[in-house]
């Protein structure tokens, strides 16, 4: 088991029972999203609309193959649009 602590922004917390983070055993962003949807089906619409992942302060919007290092600080964030 190598669970990562996944911090959630406010809008996602009701989907996981109100907690600020969840623990998921996932090695990549793709695996994380798949397991989040499996465990919390309400997450699917958010992920489909766009969720970015901050890994140790570096923000990934697209590359779902990006590894999630054990012990990294991981935040889910809304996928930010630009102008």
């Amino acid at each position: 088991m190598s669970e990562r602590v996944i911090h959630l922004w406010g809008a996602l917390r009701p989907l996981v029972g109100g907690t600020a983070f969840v623990k998921i055993d996932a090695a990549t962003i793709a695996e994380l999203f798949a397991k989040l949807i499996e465990r919390y089906p309400g997450m699917e619409s958010h992920i489909r609309r766009g969720v970015a992942v901050s890994i140790n302060g570096e923000i990934y919007r697209d590359n779902w193959g990006t590894p999630l290092p054990v012990g990294a600080e991981i935040y889910l964030m809304p996928r930010v649009p630009g102008g």
């Binding site: 911090h7 922004w9 406010g10 809008a11 996602l12 917390r13 009701p14 109100g18 489909r48 609309r49 901050s54 140790n56 302060g57 570096e58 923000i59 990934y60 919007r61 697209d62 590359n63 990006t66 600080e73 935040y75 964030m77 809304p78 930010v80 649009p81 630009g82 102008g83």
Partner: protein, 757 residues
């Protein structure tokens, strides 16, 4: 392709081309009128498309009778929502886009499209529009963000249940999303404070104000294949959206992007393009559809108007103990998350132990909003920076020193969650403190303000093709639209990497059938991501060039190196060989393996966040309330300024737009819910004579995640102006400005209220 050629990490390099101010490849065409914009394209047999729009802010469409218009000679096609069947597959966001392009059962704002006509000329099309009879049932409307949240407000949609609340509501409402960010304990933090400042602010809706209106020329053949010439920030995204909305295969729709006369976020979204394609499909003729300025204002995507409450607590020693904000933004008539973005950016400049932001996203009877340069951040910065200024003054501290003391830095836990890596807010503040502008004397009735701003930046999907021509020159085809000069920057990157001159490289924007998908030019990503792809493509082409030289010399590849635009044989046995230039290798390419090219496709994630600090001097006429900017300075980190003139242009352009937003620009809606000022005469954007020369200071703190250290620069410069200008006006007249734009009547009212007290 070696993996090393795709390494995005910063490399130490002494630049020869990067950092110079070369002429832009599109410059002569643009100043001589040769450049072709959206409305400049025509096709044989083309029709003119026009759109019939709702005169009501909120109305049920009971019936659309097109029979008389159809009988008018010269009318070739009329479409309504019935001609745009649902191909969205249950994707609500795509359905919102479709419904925004053409109303389906209900008109949701003044200007919402209800039908469209294609006719042999504009006169006939206008006559046809008048012959279409729409029967409406007018519904109560709401255009104000706070009013829309009130109990009993007219409800726009019966599918919105507020998302993000602990319990799912049982009734639908206009409040589509609730969000929260932050950390620590703000209640405890405010108890620790010696001073607590709480203020409420409002900002009005503004438009990006691009000079070129939307224009599209669409041609759908009877075999289903289609072409579209369009003014856009992202022709691949337009291709994908239009194909989905019309039920087409994306590869059957070839989109060519015209030159673009400004976008700033407003051309990241399809508006009339699906209608032009649907008209062309129905008429079996090309259709050109160009919006009027009135339509651009009423029917495209302005930014949100907002209502924001901010509370900051601080100790007398200058430490901020707690910060809180509630931000209410509307997304126009469809759900969005603009308030959520505002909540993420609001306190991003500061290192805060206790911080909480709450966002409320709301729908109102206004056009569907779109991004506008660092979307949502300027309004949040306006509210926060004014409260920061007031807090500093309340504890008797210089506002610059107060900001420097509380500025975020590497290792700070950001207000939106993650811990920052290396960031540039501190250096911009220190540069502001030391800037001659900050020490210059002020004139009569003049105040000075300064403010900070933050934006995320991103990279995204990018694809380029590099080709060496037989005469030894290079073409680089990019798929990211050139809005602010990226063709020059991309050519510079290729020249730098290949060791050739800038004039040997020509960069073009390829159409959607010629390259893989490219994201739009938004999020300050154009130069950041496309230059990275161009560098990788050049590295791949260099590998081919080395292979050809090795073959020509009949020596191992490992013994050929590329430097100064030529292949050099290395090693003891080859020291006397003359280098093979790019020209020589290109000339014999047919005999050594064929065309020489380099390709790159990538996702440029991890662009790095961006910060800026602005200083404004504003003179206020106490008789009229008119404000005049007398001096303005922008300080921002560019990572590495590839072409300093373009970086300065981005800084100045963002500042100019922010100044317009701060002083004059606003959508004015009447009680009937109709837009009252849909034109540049009544919607006042700044012109050259309104502005001083905007001074810029480029800081270069290399971005570790780009080979040349480049950071996106296109958006952050619009974030601080609302704060800097309003603080300057506050200092000029002695009354805190809580509502932008600070148009003369609002400022005069402040002055008169102060006098009467």
């Amino acid at each position: 392709m070696s993996l090393d050629s795709m390494n995005p990490k910063l490399v130490e390099k002494k630049f020869k081309v990067i950092g110079t101010r070369v002429p832009r490849p599109d410059g002569v065409d643009k100043v001589t009128g040769r450049a072709r914009y959206g409305a400049d394209a025509s096709m044989p047999g083309q029709l003119i498309g026009l759109v019939l729009r709702s005169p009501h802010a909120h109305a049920k469409i009971l019936k659309i009778d097109t029979s008389k218009a159809e009988q008018l000679t010269g009318v070739k096609a009329i479409i309504t929502s019935a001609d745009l069947p649902d191909h969205t597959g249950g994707d609500r966001a795509m359905m919102d886009i479709l419904e925004n392009c053409m109303a389906r059962g209900k008109a949701l704002y003044d200007g919402h499209a209800v039908a469209a006509v294609a006719a042999i000329d504009a006169s006939t099309a206008r006559k046809a529009l008048k012959l279409i009879n729409v029967t409406y049932k007018i519904l109560p409307h709401v255009t104000d963000v706070d009013e829309a949240l009130k109990h009993g407000a007219p409800i726009l949609h019966e599918y919105i249940y507020t998302e993000g609340l602990p319990e799912r509501p049982t009734a639908y409402s206009n409040w589509n999303k609730h969000g929260e960010f932050g950390h620590g304990d703000v209640v405890a933090g405010f108890k620790e404070a010696d001073v607590v400042i709480a203020k409420s602010y409002k900002t009005e809706q503004t438009h990006q104000g691009y000079i070129e209106p939307h224009s599209v020329l669409a041609s759908v053949s009877s075999d289903g294949a289609a072409e579209m010439w369009v003014c856009t920030q992202g022709h691949f995204v337009y291709r994908n959206h239009c194909a989905q909305l019309l039920g087409m295969d994306a590869n059957k729709l070839r989109v060519t992007a015209s030159e673009i006369g400004g976008g700033f976020g407003g051309k990241t979204h399809v508006w009339a393009e699906p209608l032009a394609l649907a008209l062309s499909r129905k008429a079996n003729r090309p259709v050109k559809l160009t919006m009027t300025r009135d339509e651009v204002f009423r029917c495209t995507g302005p930014t949100s108007s907002t209502s924001i409450d901010v509370k900051i607590g601080a100790k007398k020693d200058g430490t901020i103990t707690a910060a809180w904000a509630e931000l209410r933004y509307h997304g126009g008539c469809f759900p969005a998350n603009w308030a959520e973005l505002g909540a993420m950016t609001a306190f991003a400049c500061y290192d805060l132990k206790n911080v909480k932001t709450v966002s409320k996203d709301v729908v109102v009877n206004r056009p569907k909003t779109a991004a506008y340069r660092a979307p949502s951040a300027p309004m949040a910065a306006f509210a926060v920076e004014n409260t920061i200024d007031e807090t500093a003054k309340a504890i008797g501290m210089d506002p610059v020193d107060f900001r420097i003391m509380n500025a975020a830095k590497q290792g700070t836990k950001s207000s939106y969650g993650p811990v920052y890596g290396p960031i540039g807010i501190g250096p911009t503040l220190v540069a502001a403190k030391n800037h001659p502008h900050m020490k210059a004397p002020l004139g009569k009735n003049t105040g000075r303000g300064m403010a900070c701003g933050f934006w995320f930046n991103f990279g995204g999907q990018t694809c380029v093709d590099l080709n060496v021509t037989p005469d030894g020159n290079v073409t680089i085809a990019q798929g990211t639209i050139d809005v602010g000069g990226s063709r020059a920057s991309i050519a510079m990157a290729v020249a730098e990497e290949m060791g050739i001159t800038y004039n040997q490289v020509r960069s073009i924007i390829a159409d959607t059938s010629s390259l893989g998908h490219n994201d739009m030019t938004d999020g300050s990503r154009g130069t950041f991501s496309t230059s990275m792809a161009a560098i990788f493509a050049a590295r791949n082409a260099i590998m081919v060039l080395r292979e050809r030289a090795a073959k020509t010399w009949d020596i191992p590849l490992a013994e050929v190196e590329w430097k100064d635009g030529a292949a050099h044989a290395t090693g003891a046995g080859h020291g006397n060989r003359s280098p093979l230039s790019l020209k020589e290798i290109a000339h014999t390419a047919g005999q050594t393996g064929g065309p020489i090219a380099g390709h790159s496709e990538l996702v440029a994630d991890n662009a790095g966040v961006s910060f800026a600090t602005h200083i404004a001097d504003v003179e206020v006429d106490p008789e009229t309330g008119r404000s005049r900017i007398t001096r303005y300075t922008v300080i921002q980190d560019a990572g590495k300024a590839m072409h300093p003139s373009y970086v300065e242009g981005q800084y100045q352009g963002g500042a100019a737009q922010g100044i317009g937003w701060a002083l004059n620009e606003e959508y004015v809606y009447g009680k009937d819910g109709r837009l009252q000022n849909a034109g540049f005469l009544d919607y006042r954007i700044p012109v050259c004579s309104d502005l001083p020369f905007i001074d810029t200071q480029i800081l270069e703190i290399p971005n570790p995640n780009h080979p040349y250290g480049v950071r996106g620069v296109g958006e952050t410069s619009i974030v601080p102006p609302l704060g800097a200008v309003s603080i300057a006006v506050t200092n000029a007249i002695g009354v805190r400005q809580l509502h932008v734009p600070m148009s003369p009547p609002r400022v005069l009212k402040s002055i008169q209220t102060k006098k009467s007290e």
